[in-house]
């Protein structure tokens, strides 16, 4: 199980890093989404993995519980990363509407022609 979680974090990170190194805003947004997943799962797993031990206190018996603290941190992190993504999307959208392309690098010579009409998807 641990191997699966660790490899998932690794794959998500690798994919996220590759996408944020692309040249278009939308790819970067996708990359950041993947990175957010990776970071959230990473933080969550710092509480170590346990099955069938949710941190909901039981009235009876001597139940064991997983570490609730990383969960609380990740819960807010998920919501905040949504807020961040939303701001980023808005900025990207604004940049696209103003500049007519959604390239992220500030090269003067890249400002040619509307981005949406370029071939080669």
């Amino acid at each position: 199980m641990e191997l699966l979680v660790a490899s998932s974090v690794g794959v998500l990170t690798a994919g996220g890093v590759y996408l944020i190194l692309r040249l278009r805003a939308f790819a970067v947004i996708l990359g950041l989404a993947l990175l957010s997943y990776a970071v959230n799962v990473f933080l969550f797993s710092t509480g170590r993995l346990m099955v069938n031990a949710p941190p909901i206190l039981q009235k009876y018996g001597d139940a064991s519980y997983t570490d609730p603290l990383p969960q609380a941190l990740v819960l807010t992190a998920i919501v905040i990363s949504f807020g961040m993504t939303a701001v980023l999307v808005m900025i990207a959208l604004g940049a696209f509407l103003e500049a007519d392309h959604d390239r992220i690098d500030m090269d003067d010579d890249t400002a040619t022609g509307p981005a949406g009409e370029e071939p080669g998807a």
Binding site: L21, R22, M50, P54, A72, L75, F82, M84
Partner: protein, 954 residues
């Protein structure tokens, strides 16, 4: 905490307060401005006068105001003999300069500005000499660099002024940086940043391993400030300043700050071989070199500038000798140099002012036209030359006496010979100042007709000349002051006797050789000058400019190489550097053996993992098709939610799945306006490079995750688990942590979320009022729009869903404290229910039925959460302390209700408001893009028969 020094902070503050006034008073005229500049100076002088008797009696006055005690920084001041001497010199000469500048500056110069700068500089200097805390001293030290920059560059229209100011700032400022490091080391060794403590710990500091670095760094600061070789070159270029500035900065203040610092640190740093050789060699070299260059300068102020360099070298050398007698000589020469050099600068200024030139080759014979000026200049210059009955003679004799028995590397003649050479050159350029400017035949080709200036202008130098003569003839007059300051420098009880006649000593012969040789040299000046001008010399300014240009070019290359506007490049560098640093850190340690067994893998988990990895890989390979990438992102989110369920995190699963939904909606809305595909732009090589970086990062993170997943750890969560029910009144520990234990964090986070929502709204508003709005209006989006925009089935279904979804939201909210759920999830669930209305029935229809503004919802949310927290104050408890109790209502089971419930309500409202505001903002753009506003909920309403007949007509 004061010890008779209650006035000191006021004295330190006075010039800065006073600096506010001249700039205003200039409207009342130049005399008023000058008068108001003098006021704080005079008050400060009077206060010093009150304190002087105690200091003269050997007391050390202190005053301390705690500022940042954690950093060892306090506004503490102290006044001892050395500080008093310098404070009086700074204020006294400041007063004379104020008077002189009133007459020197022309009507075109902004005089108010000048006096403001002057007072700022005076305050900074004063701060240096009375600071007890060395961190405070450093602040004043940097302030002198800054304010002298303003003064030197006062004539902004002159390129030399600007360049000179820049050079002075660069040299003294960088020296100041070195000194900060040195002082911090010193404070660390001594365990205190207070000078009074540090001065007690000389032995410990000299024995420390860090002594040499601290010494070198502090000396760098002092040498740059006091223009010691090889940093002497900035001082002559600072002569582009108005003469009052030169007279002030280069006689009594700025350049003496370095000397002051060496004197101040003398009991701590002096007495070692390192100090002796570094300081005395630097001083002697500077003295001879400065004097030599001065002899061949034709600009009056340049001559004086290099002579100042030379005399500063002399002072440095004396302090470097490290003997008490040399310290006495240094203190005495500080006073003497101040008197004659300030007078000489003012004289040069008068000559420049009246003849419109400072070029010695165009002067001569001025004694006939301006006798008073000539007298003043002659007296001061004779003192500079070291002629008996002038005060310069006395301290020069003491210097030669000290030099005559100083050995360098067991060599007993080199110091006396070089010192005599320095004195000889000094005589030569001093005599040149007299004979080539004032003496000689009168000329008829002066640029302006010379005459003596008004009394106000020569009053200040004349006063200084009186001091020159008084001390020169009756040295005993200066004895109490010298005793007081020299005792403070050395930290010992000294009783020097200043005498005119010392008997037949080696110093006398050296003096005679110097005067005679100097006179001969002046006679030979013409041929020597020709040889000097022909000889190749390194030009300091050219070297400095080349160094600066090189530094600028290197920084520019570095900056532009790294920061070229390509964010993908920064990110690549950042990720690669992070991976590399992590690898270095990791390979430097050892990994303990794993302690946790691996959990078994259930088949369904394996399926989920395969889906997640496959979806992530497909996102990467399909990211150019943006819609497809979004669908794949959704799969990843779902799998992660499933993982959370499996791994005992139901709250996270709920949050993840609802956030996933709104995120996809948001991205879909945005994608409506963005290009639908991403073109291929980066080369294969670049993609390979990025892929390599990405895989390195992924492998690193995976390894790190694996490493800690296999090892046990200590968590603080046991406390939370144990106290969640008793202390927080809830069994869902995650929720209790959010609203209770870590409520402060949550409060901050909902504020961030609210700000994000408002930011998006503001961005949208700005966007829609800019050129983007026009573009939106003119773009036709209709071809990718379904004709049935508000399908009947969806409208009906969402209508039916709304109350159910709302009920689910409320239920999730209420159970949150004890079961998975809570404000965050409930807010998201209800916003999804509302968003469905927007999607199904259209923006306009929904908007007219919206009663609450989303902005105010965010505000109320934060307010409710904040007030709930603040309510704890009423009970005398800290912010966000929760209380709870049990309530029994009829027909409903007994349930717990606590303040945490209200806090969670705030969270709920903020999340709902923020999420709705974000998506609402995006959908407003759609309205701009020509989307029609529908009043009716459905485009196609079966109850209206007329539309049934011709459905294709809308």
């Amino acid at each position: 905490m004061t010890n008779g020094g209650g006035l000191l902070p006021i004295i330190a503050l006075l010039p800065f307060l006073g600096a506010l006034i001249p700039g205003i008073m200039i409207r009342a005229g130049r005399n008023a401005s000058a008068a108001f500049t003098a006021v704080p100076t005079i008050i400060a002088l009077a206060m010093l006068g009150v304190l002087a008797p105690q200091v003269m009696a050997g007391e050390v006055l202190t005053a301390q105001i705690a500022w940042l005690p954690q950093l060892g920084l306090s506004a503490s001041f102290f006044l001892d003999g050395l500080g008093l001497l310098f404070a009086v010199m700074i204020l006294g000469v400041g007063l004379l300069i104020t008077l002189y500048a009133r007459f020197y500056l022309s009507g075109d110069d902004p005089m108010g500005q000048f006096y403001t700068y002057l007072l700022l500089f005076q305050g900074a200097m004063l701060g240096i000499v009375i600071s007890d805390n060395i961190l405070l001293l450093l602040i004043f030290w940097e302030l002198t660099s800054l304010s002298s920059f303003l003064l030197i560059g006062y004539w902004k229209h002159l390129p030399e002024g600007r360049q000179g100011a820049r050079m002075a700032l660069a040299v003294t400022g960088s020296g100041g940086l070195a000194m900060i490091a040195g002082m911090l080391i010193l404070g660390n060794i001594a365990g205190s940043y207070n000078l009074t403590d540090i001065l007690q710990q000389g032995e410990a500091i000299r024995a420390s391993d860090w002594y040499l670095p601290a010494l070198i760094l502090i000396l760098l600061g002092a040498f740059t400030k006091s223009a010691q070789f090889p940093f002497h070159f900035w001082l002559p270029h600072a002569m582009a300043a108005p003469t009052p500035v030169s007279a002030y900065l280069h006689s009594a203040t700025m350049v003496k700050a370095g000397v002051f610092l060496m004197a101040r640190m003398w009991p701590v740093l002096a007495g070692t071989d390192a100090w002796f050789y570094i300081v005395s060699i630097t001083g002697l070299v500077t003295m001879v070199l400065g004097a030599l260059i001065a002899l061949f300068k034709d600009d009056l102020k340049a001559l004086l500038a290099f002579s100042t360099v030379s005399h500063l070298g002399l002072l440095t050398m004396l302090l470097g000798f490290g003997t008490q007698a040399a310290a006495v000589a240094a203190v005495f020469h500080i006073i003497n140099h101040l008197t004659f050099k300030a007078a000489l600068f003012m004289t040069a200024g008068i000559v420049d002012h009246e003849t419109h030139t400072r070029d010695i080759r165009r002067l001569g014979g001025l004694a006939k036209f301006m006798p008073i000026t000539a007298l003043i200049g002659t007296v001061a210059a004779l003192s500079m030359a070291g002629i008996p009955f002038f005060n310069g003679f006395l301290s020069k004799e003491m210097m030669l006496e000290e030099a005559s028995h100083t050995l360098w590397f067991r060599n007993d003649w080199i110091v006396p010979v070089l010192a005599t050479l320095g004195a000889l050159l000094s005589v030569a350029y001093s005599l040149r100042f007299i004979f080539h400017v004032f003496a000689g035949p009168a000329r008829d080709d002066y640029p302006a007709k010379p005459h003596d200036p008004p009394f106000g202008m020569y009053a200040a130098p004349a006063f200084l000349c009186v001091l020159v003569l008084a001390i020169g003839i009756f040295p005993a007059l200066a004895e109490p002051v010298v005793t007081m300051a020299a005792s403070a420098v050395t930290g010992a009880e000294l009783h020097p006797h200043l005498k005119l006649w010392h008997g037949v000593t080696p110093a006398l012969f050296m003096s005679i050789i110097a005067v005679a040789g100097g006179a001969i040299l002046l006679g030979l000046h013409r041929p020597l000058d020709r040889a000097w001008q022909a000889a190749p010399r390194p030009e300091a300014k050219a070297i400095f400019d080349a160094t600066m240009a090189g530094a600028v070019a290197a920084s520019r290359a570095l900056t532009e190489g790294l920061h070229n506007g390509a964010i993908s490049r920064y990110l690549a560098i950042f990720v690669a550097a992070t991976v590399a640093l992590t690898w270095i850190a990791f390979s430097g340690g050892t990994l303990s053996p794993p302690t946790r067994p691996l959990l078994p893998v259930a088949p369904v988990v394996m399926v989920g993992w395969v889906l997640l990895v496959a979806a992530a890989a497909l996102v990467v390979f399909n990211h150019r098709n943006r819609f497809r990438a979004l669908v794949l992102i959704g799969i990843i989110g779902l799998m992660i939610s499933g993982g959370f369920v499996y791994l005992s995190a139901p709250d996270l699963a709920l949050t993840q799945i609802s956030v996933e939904t709104v995120t996809i909606m948001l991205l879909l809305l945005a994608l409506h306006f963005l290009p639908k595909t991403t073109p291929v732009e980066s080369s294969a090589g670049l993609r390979l490079r990025d892929g390599a970086i990405a895989i390195a990062a992924g492998v690193g993170v995976a390894a790190l995750t694996m490493a800690f997943l296999m090892r046990d750890f200590d968590s603080i969560s046991d406390y939370h688990l144990a106290n969640s029910y008793e202390g927080g009144g809830g069994t869902n520990v995650v929720n209790v942590i959010l609203v209770d234990f870590r409520g402060y964090d949550t409060f901050g986070e909902i504020i961030v979320l609210g700000i994000a929502g408002l930011t998006i709204f503001a961005l949208m508003e700005a966007l829609l009022s800019g050129p983007a709005a026009r573009r939106l209006r003119n773009t036709d989006y209709s071809q990718d729009r379904s004709r049935d925009r508000h399908p009947l089935m969806m409208v009906v279904a969402t209508r039916a869903m709304l109350p159910i979804a709302t009920m689910v939201g409320v239920y999730i909210f209420l159970r949150g404290h004890n079961q998975p759920g809570g404000g965050f999830v409930a807010g998201l669930v209800i916003s999804i229910a509302l968003l469905m209305q927007y999607m199904a029935s259209g923006f306009g229809w929904t908007q007219t039925r919206q009663r609450v503004e989303y902005h105010s919802m965010i505000g109320w949310g934060v307010l409710v959460a904040g007030l709930t927290g603040a309510a704890a104050w009423l009970g005398g408890a800290p912010f966000l302390t929760s209380i709870y109790g049990y309530i029994k209502l009829p027909w409903i089971e007994k349930f717990g209700l606590g303040s945490a419930f209200l806090f969670d309500l705030g969270v709920f409202l903020t999340v709902l408001g923020a999420v709705m505001l974000m998506l609402y903002s995006l959908s407003r753009i759609a309205r701009y893009a020509g989307e029609t506003v529908n009043i009716e909920p459905m485009d196609y309403d079966p109850s209206l028969k007329s539309e049934l007949k011709k459905p294709g007509e809308e």
